[in-house]
Amino acid sequence: MRRIALKSIAFRKTRALLTAMAIVLGVSMISGTYVLTDTIRGAFTDIFTASYQDTSAVISGREIVKDAASGTATVPASVLPRVARLPDVEAAAGAVTSTDGVKLLDESNAALGGKRSDTIAIGVDTSQPRFNPLNLVGGHWAAGPGEVVLDKATAKKQHLEVGDTIRASGPGAGAARYRVTGIARYGKVDSLGGAAIAVFTVPVAQRLAGKAGQLDTISLAARKGVSPERLVREVAPMLPRSAQVKNAADQAAHDAGDVDEFLRFFQYFLLAFAAIALFVGSFVIFNTLSITVAQRAREFATLRTMGASRRQIMRSVLLEGAIIGVLASAAGLALGLGLAKGLTALMRALELELPQAATVFAPRTAIVSMAVGIAITVLATVVPALRATRVPPIAAVREGATVPPSRLGASANGLAVATIAIAVGALVAGSFASGLSTGATLLALGGGVLLLFIGVAMIAPALVRPMAAVVGAPARRLGGSAGALARGNATRNPARTASTAAALMIGLALVTVVATLGAGLRHSVRASLDDQVRADYVVTSEASLPDAATRTGAVPTTLAGVGAASIVLDDRARVLGADTGVDGIDPTALARTYRFTWAAGSSAASLARLRDDGAIVKKSFADKHHLRVGSAMTMTGPSGRRLAVRVRGIHTPPTFDRIQPVLAPVLVSRRAFVATFPRPKLRYAFVALDGNPGAATLAGLRQAVRRFPGTKVQTKDAWVTEQAAGINTLLNLLYVLLALSIVVSLFGMVNTLILAVFERTRELGMLRAIGMSRRQVRRMVRHESTITALIGAGLGLPVGLFLAAIVTRALSDQGLAFAMPVASLAVFVGAAFVAGLVAAIAPARRASRLDVLHALQYE
């Protein structure tokens, strides 16, 4: 019996191959995800290893506020000579690293490499190469002012060579020229994701980054025989409270921590799509094997007459599934290596570049990919295998033997309705019930979605006939007899059509959810921003502004026509035990450009009373911390500096502001802000005009901000549109990843059609014999395919809209609105139609090429 399983696969290679494809893609997504994330992790490990190779201990600023715009606290440069004098220290070197704010520019002050070009500016003491994580691959290190070394990837991308000149600016210094004196690599890594690396001397980096007299790290090498731990113990008491010292191993682990956290999230995110593709794949496998088992009914019956037990039949079919699973998983595993490259390219196309180094293929990748692929295939085989065991031996002597109907039979629809009811119940409970743990909520939502798909797939056979009547109507009118036959074929075996369409339904439902939520988010962002911002123009910046600009205001109010220019600076601080966003504002200017909705007891007068020791807070923040007007609180900035304030006013922005806030929860005066936060970021400058907007005013504004690279002026409408489009990158990523599961369902459609053509060989021969042309045969198969695909769309779109409606309703307390993405839905229906046409290509060709005589004799 084992041989029968093996031979059966070898005998029906095409069929096995098509069946396997359903799993290959899902498995390749798993293996690709692991390879990609392992490779990125490997790249970072290289980087961190290189960073601390010859280092015993590292002094660094504490991370007082997580994710602060101005980074972690710095270490006073005066610490360096003191620790360097310690007898146990053999060598010490300070370095400056700025990951935000320094910009590389071309001659016209435009950012090198476009809009999203991040630059990591580093100042290293190249006289002590043991602490230098970078390796020179050409030229020499920057030795004085006006010199810079670039990383290899950036130099290549920007076509820069040693001797060329670029410009750079930063929070501490305006744009100036720098000569490229060398090209370097970070450890063994060519590229650090999309970010450019610019290496300066320490004093230049300090000035550019606005860290004069400050260092980010001091690397220490211990004298021979001195343990890193001993060095740490000796150095620790010499440091200010905002600084810390760690041995090199701990420091490397600390550095890797953030990356690890991101990678883990990224990995789960991609694996979720692998799971979806595999779920769809299991439908396809289930359907294909069900058809195959039905077509092989006589074979199973014959085996039974020869004494094969039910268990042997079961084992044989399961073994076939397992073999297909093994082959498919192995192919998927291999394909994953290619997919990892594809995913990298995808991320790059979506401007989410990741660092690259040698490909890492861990044993875990192979184990998980194989185990999951095989398990899913075998699971999907169980029901068809059970059906095969129910073929009675007497079917061996009957012509046109069929598999007996499922024992569920008449109760199938009832069961389907019950499944859908349970699914909806779980979804509603997961979305609205309070007091559920996160785990229970996720289980209810995930299980609910899964059950909903299964339930709809179960009820679908009952819907195939009416739906085919609707979507098949044009086919009948346009396709004549071929169209009418196609509709008949699609409804001949409703369970089969339903199951094929259901696989497509899943992908379409999920893209519908994405599109609908996306439309809702865009709509809500627009409404929320329009409601709050009253400016005519909005100035935004990607980089920190030079100190001078933040103190004086980047936008000159003296410009003709400008009534008010309100600068909003942004950073995070520790307030009342938690990290919170804090904005620095100009009260009078903001009052003219932002519409405050004051809570009871506050008013516009609160703004006037702000001064340098007051704060305006959002109602949600006040409620959380039990604050009232007059309450006192202290905030600690990223550098450790403190600011004590009293609440002067409480305002209530629209509910959607929670998802996409315009202002931070805490507002303080710009002066108080600048005194507390070392390198604040410009969030916006809202500009209100006295008169009507004019081209001259806009040109004047543009001219005024030109001094600050990475800063742009937009009309309010353009800004609102850009903000609303902010989720588009994410939406596109989701579409591409969900497209994978749609491709899987496409394979299912091809499978079903090819098997149907095979099954109807004799009938097709008869149709050809009575005068049907090859073209008509092709058209018939095509119509059947598009009818199936449109049934998939007819199931998927409503299910998707329903899921999106539930999510929207659950998030309605966040102000999320439901918006029907009509255009997107039309595109999806069109895509389903095209998918049907594509799936029909090979089967239609096969059907039209049947030899009439041969087909008629086919048994």
Partner: protein, 270 residues
């Protein structure tokens, strides 16, 4: 097909066989392999009820070839299906090789099939992905029994397939496929071989070939065989011919020539 070498087939001169007419015995015969008592089979109910078999009792004797004849709808196939345990009677019982077939569950029936029953089908029912050799040995492989090599080699020679053993069914003619099927039915030395219209899907030139094979298996190896057929030429090789009409055995004939059989059929249809 004609291009292939002619196999050593034992042909039988059907016309010269003596015809002996005998009465149906009231009781079970000694040496019988299959006993059936009071078999009835109804399909459907109410007005649509069909009586496929009405109170049929019969014994199939050992080492003889019993043919079952009758027009379409006479119940001949139903009788064979019930005797072979493929179908269950509405009432009555069947004993095969000492076991009451009608009382067995699926597992016991499976065991019975492995040990005591061989089948030859009208449409050959070979597994398309297996070679002739693998098809022949399939029943043993299913039962997990080591093949008796000597017996297998002998069978291959008897059916004349030595040069076809590595071929798949799609590479063989209908006659060759049916020879594979006969060898497959015999390989486990079953108590009874049931042949269901074994010549029904063959062209006339190969019919005699297969009939000769069945006859040889009875004569040389004492293989008890039941053959359902509507072909008088096929029935003429039988030791005994049961005629069914409307679900009843209406004649039980010991050896008859094809001509005699045709005349019996004519009598019955009158």
């Amino acid at each position: 097909m004609s291009a292939q070498p002619s196999p050593p087939v034992h042909t039988v001169d059907i016309a010269t066989r003596p015809a002996t007419l005998a009465a149906v015995p009231a009781d079970g015969r000694p040496g019988a392999t299959v006993h059936a008592r009071g078999l009835s089979r109804r399909y459907g109910d109410g007005d649509a009820v069909v009586h496929a078999l009405r109170d049929v009792s019969v014994d199939i004797e050992e080492a003889r070839l019993t043919a079952v004849m009758g027009p379409s709808g006479s119940g001949k196939s139903t009788l064979m299906h019930i005797l072979a345990g493929l179908d269950r009677p509405t009432s009555g019982r069947v004993t095969l090789a000492g076991t009451e077939v009608t009382a067995l569950d699926d597992n016991a029936l499976t065991k019975l099939r492995r040990e005591h029953i061989g089948f030859v089908f009208q449409f050959f029912n070979l597994l398309p992905m297996l070679t002739a050799e693998e098809n022949i040995l399939l029943p043993l492989s299913i039962a997990g029994v080591k093949p008796d090599r000597a017996w297998y080699e002998q069978l291959v020679d008897v059916v004349g397939l030595r040069d076809r053993l590595r071929h798949r069914p799609s590479e063989m003619s209908g006659g060759q496929q049916q020879r594979v099927a006969v060898a497959r039915a015999l390989v486990s030395r079953p108590s009874v071989v049931f042949a269901d219209e074994p010549t029904g899907n063959l062209d006339s030139s190969t019919v005699a070939e297969i009939l000769g094979l069945l006859r040889t298996s009875v004569d040389t190896y004492g293989q008890t065989t039941v053959m359902v057929t509507h072909d008088p030429q096929a029935a003429a090789i039988a030791d005994r011919i049961l005629f069914l009409a409307d679900g009843e055995i209406v004649r039980d004939v010991e050896r008859a020539s094809a001509r005699d059989i045709v005349s019996v059929i004519e009598q019955l249809s009158r």
